[in-house]
């Protein structure tokens, strides 16, 4: 055996030996770099693949499931929706503006690579405790970075979530999702084909940024993580806008055979993926790769993660068509190689072979680990005594509405252009955002959801709840939920406890997706979100997409008029375990999360959707974090219309009734005359439904508590985040 290099670039000893076996010799420096990124956790999914395979990915409307750049679903009328969510956690912690910006750029490229025009962006953000000294700086940089990129491209950022917990102090999460639309007959894939066809590079020049970014994202942090700043990429949204328009223009011709964006692991991963999927070899002349600076080594060119670059296979004789389009848009493009029948990736520089690796063996032999895991222990029991009824229910509500997780996030989304493209029908801040399908009366509802404290307390239940909540948020607008993308953020898979959380969450996600006919069509796994051995709360973010067939039959959460009856749909036990009430009011992070009854979830949701589709309900909000009182408060503030809530049923505690987080529930508001009919239908369908109050006035009154003026509630709800961010 050859002498082992000192730096294995993140490969284990066994993985290095496997590389040597494939090569039949010791890989040179460039080749070793290629093995290292291709076999990184980030690119190879070596610890997660076994479990991801258990997720349901099929439905009659699924055109393309996981494995391509993004998932594709059929929405009828010859149109398809392409979407995916992806993490950019490690770079965003190190350099928040550029990390978040390039996260947005990367996920948009995944979507337009498939031929779709992006029509909306969303994001799921988790920050550390507001008291942590870095949090304010990270929030500020991440939000500015997301806005800076998306606003410039001109794709609206329409929704998402943003929460805080000390487990993210050293590892924030920045998950970005893009949704695009495409003619169902014009979808582009990445499998290279046609021996002799040209391999064309287009977009930004290759520089020395982001080298080994994928490897960085596959290791935990320690105190010296700041030193990894040079591995963070730098984004240029203007170039991406040009690349987007140029690609869509070229895609309208017959020039492109296959296309793949250069994301993590850059030219290495894009060329390997295209070759492996097409069963061909690729020969690349590195001298032809457009470069930002002279003197870059083959290693640097192959591992650079410079942004805004595309690799494509162009039909023979159409190279000039491609060049003309990229020239028009002022972008670099170059023929950098061709497809071969050798089954090998061969790189040349100055005529000399500098790397020569067999494609299939590298891809097929990528390590797969069945990591040991342990079942998560049950959460600490909730001390009933600590949850005795509070002195003032109203004061509890105001405190919850002003807590970091529930407060209004206008400070965040007003920095995002959420209206460009002039199709945003429901703006951020509601259940799901709704974007009109351009030129039609149909709409897409979209949301991102996860409740990490539930996942920490019971991974399986938490995984199921994340899916159920996404489904419920879509349903609350009247949409038919169609499919999800998952962005699975966890600590180190080499830690049995963390691996157990991952396995549990996947089981819960799979169970809920099956029960709700809500397949997973794309996703991303981000492990190693831990610093000095402290992992984050398990955070499997779920991005859901649903279809509204007629925008005239849609619901919004805002109360519209006085004299409406408020009806609660779904069973309320008053479950306070792992609730925000327990955490924010009683100071306890304890108890089991609420049970997720998927059959009830589906029954209640189908009932609600039926009412909205029939045009009988126009005001609806799902019940989630903070429970019933928070739901009604949000509806009141959204419509600037007060409400009075009746006392709970005699066998329920007032605080459990108002703040319990039982699942599968919605609040609707209907003219009083129509309430009885809806209650009757619900009873016939064996769905729990009860009138809980009525609308009117300019205050919210909880039975047995003084009225809270909406003005005061609004100040509390909208004030926290701007105040927090303004304090230095």
């Amino acid at each position: 055996m050859s002498p082992r290099p000192n730096d294995l670039m993140g490969l284990s000893d066994a993985e290095y030996d496997r590389a040597v076996a494939i090569m039949g010799r010791a890989p040179n420096h460039t080749e070793l770099g290629i093995f290292s990124v291709m076999w990184s956790e980030h690119c190879s999914y070596k610890s997660s693949r076994k479990w991801l395979a258990t997720l349901p990915t099929d439905a009659p409307w699924v055109i393309c499931g996981p494995g391509e750049n993004a998932g594709v679903i059929d929405i009828g009328d010859g149109q398809a929706v392409v979407f995916k969510m992806e993490s950019h956690n490690h770079p965003s912690f190190i350099e928040p503006y550029q990390g978040a910006a390039t996260g947005v750029g990367g996920i948009m490229r995944d979507v337009f690579t498939m031929g779709a025009r992006p029509i909306a962006n969303l994001n799921a953000l988790r920050f550390g405790s507001p008291d942590h000294p870095k949090t304010r700086h990270l929030v500020s940089g991440v939000v500015a970075g997301i806005g800076g990129y998306g606003n410039c491209i001109g794709v609206p950022t329409v929704g998402g979530e943003c929460s805080f917990h000390s487990s993210y102090d050293g590892n924030i999460l920045v998950n970005a999702m893009t949704v695009g639309t495409v003619d169902a007959s014009r979808i582009f894939y990445s499998a290279a084909a046609g021996i002799g066809n040209a391999v064309v590079y287009a977009g930004s020049k290759t520089g020395r940024d982001g080298i080994h970014g994928a490897t960085m994202a596959s290791a935990e942090f320690d105190d010296d993580s700041e030193a990894k700043r040079p591995t963070v990429q730098v984004g240029d949204p203007f170039t991406e806008k040009l690349l987007l328009e140029a690609c869509l223009e070229l895609m309208a011709t017959d020039a492109i055979v296959a296309i793949q964006d250069m994301g993590a692991a850059g030219l290495t991963s894009s060329s390997f993926e295209m070759a492996a999927k097409g069963g061909v070899g690729i020969e690349i002349d590195l001298d032809a790769v457009p470069r930002r600076e002279p003197g870059m080594s083959p290693y640097e060119v192959m591992l650079s993660e410079s942004q805004e670059r595309m690799l494509m296979v162009i039909r023979q004789g159409r190279e000039d068509v491609a060049r003309a389009v990229f020239d028009k848009w002022g972008l670099d493009s170059a023929v950098i190689g061709s497809l071969t029948d050798s089954g090998r990736l061969v790189l040349r520089e100055a005529g000399l072979v500098v790397a020569d690796i067999p494609v299939d063996p590298l891809v097929d032999a990528a390590p797969r680990y069945d990591r040991p895991w342990t079942e998560s222990p049950p959460p600490p029991a909730l001390d009933d005594a600590a949850l005795s009824p509070p002195d003032s229910l109203g004061e509890c509500l105001v405190r919850l509405m002003a807590c970091p997780d529930l407060c209004a996030k206008c400070w965040v989304w007003e920095q995002y252009d959420h209206m460009v493209m002039a199709d945003t029908v429901q703006r951020p801040g509601g259940d799901a955002a709704v974007v009109r399908l351009h030129g039609t009366d149909k709409g897409l509802a979209m949301t991102t959801d996860c409740t990490p404290r539930y996942c920490a307390a019971d991974p399986r239940r938490g995984g199921a709840q994340a899916v159920a909540e996404a489904w419920r948020n879509l349903t609350a607008t009247g949409a038919k939920p169609l499919a999800v993308t998952d962005c699975l953020n966890f600590g180190s898979p080499e830690n049995r406890h963390v691996m157990g959380q991952f396995v549990g969450c996947i089981e819960g996600i799979g169970e809920a997706c099956r029960a709700l006919d809500f397949p997973v069509v794309s996703g991303n796994v981000s492990f190693y979100n831990e610093t000095n051995g402290r992992p984050i709360q398990p955070t499997p973010a779920i991005g859901g997409v649903g279809l509204i067939a007629d925008l005239d039959r849609m619901a919004r959460p805002s109360l519209e008029a006085a004299g409406h009856s408020l009806i609660l749909i779904g069973e309320t036990a008053g479950h306070l375990g792992a609730s925000l009430y327990a955490r924010e009011i009683a100071g306890l992070e304890a108890g089991a999360p609420p049970p997720v009854d998927l059959a009830a979830e589906r029954r209640n949701g189908d009932f609600i959707r039926g009412l909205i589709e029939a045009g009988r309900v126009r005001i609806c909000h799902d019940v989630s974090d903070g429970g019933l009182a928070v739901t009604v408060a949000e509806m009141a503030l959204a419509g600037d219309m007060g409400a009075v809530l009746a006392p709970p049923p005699a066998d329920r505690s007032p605080h459990g009734w108002l703040f319990g987080e039982d699942q599968g529930r919605y609040v609707i508001a209907v003219p009083a005359a129509e309430a009885a009919g809806i209650l009757k239908e619900a009873a016939a369908a064996e769905i729990a439904a009860i009138i809980i109050g009525e609308t009117g006035g300019d205050a919210l009154t909880l039975a047995g508590s003084a009225p809270i003026s909406l003005a005061a509630l609004r100040i509390a709800h909208e004030g926290w985040l701007p105040h927090y961010m303004a304090a230095e």
Binding site: G147, L242, H418, A422
Partner: protein, 229 residues
Amino acid sequence: MKAAVIVFPGSNCDRDVQVALRASIGNDPLMVWHDDSDLPTVDLVVLPGGFCYGDYLRSGAIAAHSPIMRDVVTRANSGLPVLAICNGFQVALESGLLPGALMANAGLHFVCRDVFLRSETTGGIFAGHYEQGQILRFPVAHHDGNYTIDDDGLAALEDNHQVAFRYCDESGETADRANPNGSRDNIAGIYNKSKTVLGLMPHPERLADARLGGSDGKALFDCLFEALG
């Protein structure tokens, strides 16, 4: 009536204004690429919103030197109507079609939300469908919308009734808190002396369709059609 929308690299509200124009004037505007040197014969030119040239150097500064802008400026100076929205307003200022400058927002953040505007003039080809003092709701979405001008310039704008719109609150008061970007005297949009060029930061094309939550912007496009149709 025929309109042209100039498309710069990085324009991103070109389609939005195309849709609004089509709805009001009944035909599709010409989409004219910045690299063309001749402007076709049209009745109206629109400089749309976006981030032309990435807003590099200074918002609108590079676009002002695009080949098409020579012709746009010449024709505008001889009376061709120009509607310059958001990034287009920045281009119009950099091209000398309108006086003053736009700086970074006072809060130093990008700001995207609905604002209230008070229409400050009577009649005209753009705002003729609004009463003087009428309160409108348009969205803003910009980072560099803080309008500034020197004292003499401001006095000239006032004397010639060139201030088209001011940021105001729901009741029409031009309070500081109703000013989303720190613009001098709450100025949201201005005319040239002959009132044939309108530059404004808010986006009339984004609330020109009741489906999107409001249609105050539609009257501006309807007015253009009535005046130029």
